[in-house]
């Protein structure tokens, strides 16, 4: 048994292993080999640094750039888009500070307004409730967290194209009598990139959040009433969704149910 076999055989040294003849021979080798003793001692000496490196979190700025890059790659579909992506990412920086405030508030994970499922989509989830993150919908709604990546339009087709381009969502907008889309924005919720579609209904504003996230199917429910704001959440197999609006909770719940079933 040479040094190479010993180091490979006992690697990583912190992993529990059955002590058979091979392991005993390897350990005996280390006791008699100064080089291997030093080799494993060096590894122990760097333990704290390795742990520190592996506790580094991706900064919000990086999260934003990554999802921006993903959206643009999806739009272009080839590596040649990388440079364009990088240029485009700079505009995202301006809004990161605002998003940071939202995320630092510790609220949510991810919600989305919701288009319907893609043809192959099923329905998963309930993650919002599990995370106790309903407040984040309110936070995002109130703060207008992401102020730039947006499209002002009442053209449903145009908004659908925006959602396809930015998030790969092939789903329909909510379509109910009197419900008129006015705007779609990208939002970032705990690093997840989603969208919020703003509608007008009888002069009132209703916001539909859609956040791509694997989850288990969960029907609409009233998640929170925050002053005059009501939040209704539900999920499909691919999206966490929420409706936020200044209207009675039952009315918003009916709106969500209608939007799903129609």
């Amino acid at each position: 048994m040479n040094c190479r076999d010993v180091r490979e055989g006992l690697w990583p040294p912190e992993r529990p292993r059955l002590v058979g003849p091979q392991v005993e021979r390897a350990r005996a080798h280390i006791r008699s080999c100064r080089e291997c003793t030093r080799w494993f001692a060096e590894d122990r000496a760097t333990l704290d640094t390795r742990h520190s490196l592996q506790s580094v979190r991706a900064p919000l700025r990086v999260q934003a750039k990554v999802f921006e890059a993903l959206a643009r790659a999806r739009e272009g579909g080839t590596r040649s888009r990388v440079d364009a992506m990088r240029a485009g990412a700079s505009r995202l920086r301006k809004r990161v500070a605002a998003v940071g405030g939202l995320l630092a508030a510790g609220a949510i994970s991810a919600l989305i307004i919701g288009p319907r499922l893609p043809p192959d989509g099923g329905a998963r989830a309930g993650v919002i409730g599990e995370m106790g993150s309903d407040a984040a919908f309110v936070e995002d709604y109130l703060r207008r967290a992401v102020g730039e990546d947006y499209l002002e339009s009442s053209d449903a087709e145009e908004i659908a194209r925006f959602l396809r381009r930015e998030l790969g969502l092939h789903s329909n907008l909510l379509s109910l009598a009197g419900l008129v889309p006015t705007r779609v924005e990208i939002c970032l919720l705990e690093g997840r990139r989603g969208a919020m579609v703003v509608y007008r209904l009888d002069g009132r504003r209703v916001t539909h959040y859609l956040v791509p996230k694997a989850a288990e199917e969960r029907p609409p429910r009233i998640a929170r009433e925050h002053g005059s704001l009501t939040v209704v959440t539900w999920s499909t197999d691919a999206l966490e969704e929420a409706l936020v609006g200044e209207m009675p909770s039952n009315e918003l719940l009916d709106l969500a149910r209608s939007g799903i079933t129609e």
Partner: protein
Amino acid sequence: MERTLEERISAELDTLWQAALFLSGGGSDRAERLLQDMVSVVSDEYPGALQLDDGSDGLERFFVRRFFQDAPPFLLGSDRSSTRGSIGDMGSDVQALLGDAGRIPPRARAALWLVVIRRRSYADGSEILGIDRAELHALLEHRETLLASLVGRSTQRLTDIERRIRSSEESAS
């Protein structure tokens, strides 16, 4: 249940960022660029590229393997300006480690990331990188370079502690 690419990236983003810092050899600018390029590539190939890596670390495996096979040209030059970017909030030891990683050839960085930092077995490292065990051992020879300054710092700290203990013992006696 197939997860969306957004879901997978979200789940592994911190690890991918750590890997990008290490593989790029320090400097958040280069790490960001490396990570964005990887996202672009994986988007093109998803989900096919990840079907064989259907685990919680599938993107990391994909990322490191791709880096090993085809390190981006911007990491191969000697343009020092490209190492800019603050990593100042990571602690001096981590910064030293990342700086030392930058002195190692990219392919060896990938091997060291998997085995030394991420504590994967040699068998896993070989399988992820698609190389035989002998080549992996050869790449891991660069471990000395990677750990040299860290071990030196650690040894110096121990020496300082021993010196302080001896000093306090002498003054007490």
